[in-house]
Symmetry: C3
Subunit: 367 residues, 3 copies
Amino acid sequence: MIETPPLVDQHCHGVLRTELGLGTFEAQLLPSAGPPAPGTTSFDTQAGIAVRRWCAPLLGLEPHAAPVRYLARRRELGAAESARLLLRGSGVASYLVDTGEAGDLTGPKELALAGDAEAFEVVRLELLAEQAADTSGTVGAFLVNLAAAVHHAGTGAVAFSCRADAAALARGPEAPAPGEVRAAAGRWLAGRPRGGAVQDPVLLRHLMWSAVASGLPLQLRLRADGAGGAADPAPLTGFVRATAGLGTRLVLLGGYPYHRHTAVLAARFPHVYADAGAALGRTGAGAGAVLAELLELAPFGKLLFSSGGGRLPELHAVGALVFREALGRVLGRWAGDGSWSWRDAERVAALIAAGNARRVYRLDERG
Amino acid sequence: MIETPPLVDQHCHGVLRTELGLGTFEAQLLPSAGPPAPGTTSFDTQAGIAVRRWCAPLLGLEPHAAPVRYLARRRELGAAESARLLLRGSGVASYLVDTGEAGDLTGPKELALAGDAEAFEVVRLELLAEQAADTSGTVGAFLVNLAAAVHHAGTGAVAFSCRADAAALARGPEAPAPGEVRAAAGRWLAGRPRGGAVQDPVLLRHLMWSAVASGLPLQLRLRADGAGGAADPAPLTGFVRATAGLGTRLVLLGGYPYHRHTAVLAARFPHVYADAGAALGRTGAGAGAVLAELLELAPFGKLLFSSGGGRLPELHAVGALVFREALGRVLGRWAGDGSWSWRDAERVAALIAAGNARRVYRLDERG
Amino acid sequence: MIETPPLVDQHCHGVLRTELGLGTFEAQLLPSAGPPAPGTTSFDTQAGIAVRRWCAPLLGLEPHAAPVRYLARRRELGAAESARLLLRGSGVASYLVDTGEAGDLTGPKELALAGDAEAFEVVRLELLAEQAADTSGTVGAFLVNLAAAVHHAGTGAVAFSCRADAAALARGPEAPAPGEVRAAAGRWLAGRPRGGAVQDPVLLRHLMWSAVASGLPLQLRLRADGAGGAADPAPLTGFVRATAGLGTRLVLLGGYPYHRHTAVLAARFPHVYADAGAALGRTGAGAGAVLAELLELAPFGKLLFSSGGGRLPELHAVGALVFREALGRVLGRWAGDGSWSWRDAERVAALIAAGNARRVYRLDERG
């Protein structure tokens, strides 16, 4: 058996404070363009089965309790107590919380308290731009306020995050010139309804390069598994080359089913790191195979666990518990057949589970 | 051990009525641009080994009998009796037969009789267009005859099928305007030799949208495994979005080695279903790994078995028997290690093997 | 247990003659754009663990000896004796050496002597062009000298190799017309610094078609695993179609993580062969899964082992030993569960390990 230390979850969001009915719970379980097809249920997925397998016991039920029984028990305990039990049962010691997700979600401090863990903030760059746009009257004020917000965030947060947008990088990976940024900002602000999201490729590139200049790690969110279409990191290669040697660290989040491609980038470029998590929880019993594929080429010092959880604390718990079991099973098999030593297996498990994240995000200087 | 009910094969063709020599048999076994390379044989593939492993016993030989022995036994029994034994030994209760394949093949009724099963027709849209073109003198007559043929087919068939053509969808996924269809039909009819195939992207889109309007499920045939090049479903995403919420059901056939991508689409869009079959038979001993990958993200109510068999009844039998063993092995492993309950494993096996197809194609209203 | 005969390594390079320190050794172990990230080491990869597992015992240490101990032992023995022990311990009988790699590397004869094996030369086409350019004063002389060099190489070598360049094939896969070649050569020679590499797409296509005309097999080097970005063989499909039926044999090298795609091409086209090696050594304990994926659709007469080794003899040894174990494990599992017969498993192992390469490169006519 491989022992894994308490985890650092390098990418998650807060949890919903509200009580949930069956339909709402199902809708949160599986990212989808609509309700389940007639005659089907979101519980009939690896994620659904993993919730019943791992979370039911944390709430005092037998493993694989039926969905209705599970939700009845959850209501009986209440949303807050359920979250407390699920988070504390997941074996996570530190959360890196991307606070840019919409909804009535717990913030980092509240998540830390519920989970008896520490929590750090990851600031979503798009949100800084949108907040600056909401509060600035002119293009000049917007750019000044945005720069100040990035600077300020950089003093409190452990990382920035930004959508890895293919269109934003297609025109060239370099930092856009000031005049280009000014023109793009003008167009965006002129046409923007209050609260409107930033989609402009020049502004997105400007945000990414602001993060590079800050010296904090930049998490690039590839299109998540289940979000439809591809999550191919190929369009990022130019940006990766352009940022090599500048002292920045890029962390690729998501990528499934292109996770082998993110591993190749992490092997090729010293400043690139890959996520070993978000997709795993959703693949449940299949997680070992996905994890083993990541471990084919990714250097073991470049893979970082995350749950990708958010809204439902079940997703934090499943992400952590599925990961821990898959990691133990895969490394244990290799050690068991002599391909690895047990000592290396334990050491590498500790790196992916926590050590790499502590080093990359410099958590010990913050904690 | 997981018990699987009799299968519904959602995608197959009829079988050849003629006796086959070694060379002809080999050519049918592996779709290829030419005869095997010097010094090689089509039997040295997973498909070839699976035929010897699964079909030899059904014809009264030991498993893994040599190819020449197998073919001698097949000739001794005759094509009809061999087909009868192979089909009846495959555990398939219902065939959905795409009748658009060229060649002297048995129709649905004859296949049902040989296999002691029920059979339903899937109508290939391209064939309706080609038949309407053969019998219509003018563009106006062609369009009226085609509409009538689609309507008529819709009353007897359980589904339509159409090639998933990237070029046909590149100009935009929407239904083409009547004037656009008329112009495309005019160009096609003017240049078409008798029996010529429909390749025009506007006409293909028109056919797809005719199927959507019919209310029957539409099977989209991605480039099959082994057909060279990619079978990436990414170009379909626009069409998938455009047909969401219209009450249509899209079933993606094929896709290997992009099967994880089809599973992602089935997870993302309520009206999209994915094939859990055609490639499996060809991968033989490797089928469990491919099936497990499909099961990572696809909702279990959205995967449907097919053999993809045609011409050789061996392909129907291998498709079914390889699938059944792989499904039992994969789900049995997960139940055995506690990731799943045995009850869920049996229930999900029944859905993929038969239940999903019976629901999606409304077979119980037809049977 | 599956017995595998002595291997034919269809793609490798010579080894460095110099002694190596820790940093240099690490840099050779993992192709990367720079030194390992702070806090990480190239030994923490599957390749690094495989070196300690397989090579340490060949140098008289226990398996999984620590990196510093391994390197100390290597220095104690000296580079030449270490190479001798590693190569002779790898179970390779024949090396096909691509002599186009830069550096102070052993040639085929020296490698054969060190490894107590036979060695054959694979001539890199780009190098012939660069040598002809270095020694020719005019475009006309260059083209004549290049044709003579290709002809001469064809009498001694067992194959040609060329980079599989997407841009080179994007304009059309056909052999470029003489005028086109002449113009491209003129442009290249005019702007070329001494020793400059050939990048011109027209010249690369001209080189590939020269190899086709020679009748020798042509190895197409897809971007290697770890080299960043994709190695998708899709851009090759046009060239593959254009060369079908001409008697040429194309061998696709590399391809990971697109190895299933190369297998599909080998299944589809009689004259296409796929590499079952180069990526495997690097994936160490994960090699069985990658190999099993190749074996899903590739005909077993179309897969050829290679180590992809070069510079470090450790890479030759690891490539061979990881391959042999993975092959034995995968085929042994299939034979053990009855999917394959043991006789087929041994026969297929021998084909992939050596027989296919002996046939495709006609080694028995050369040896």
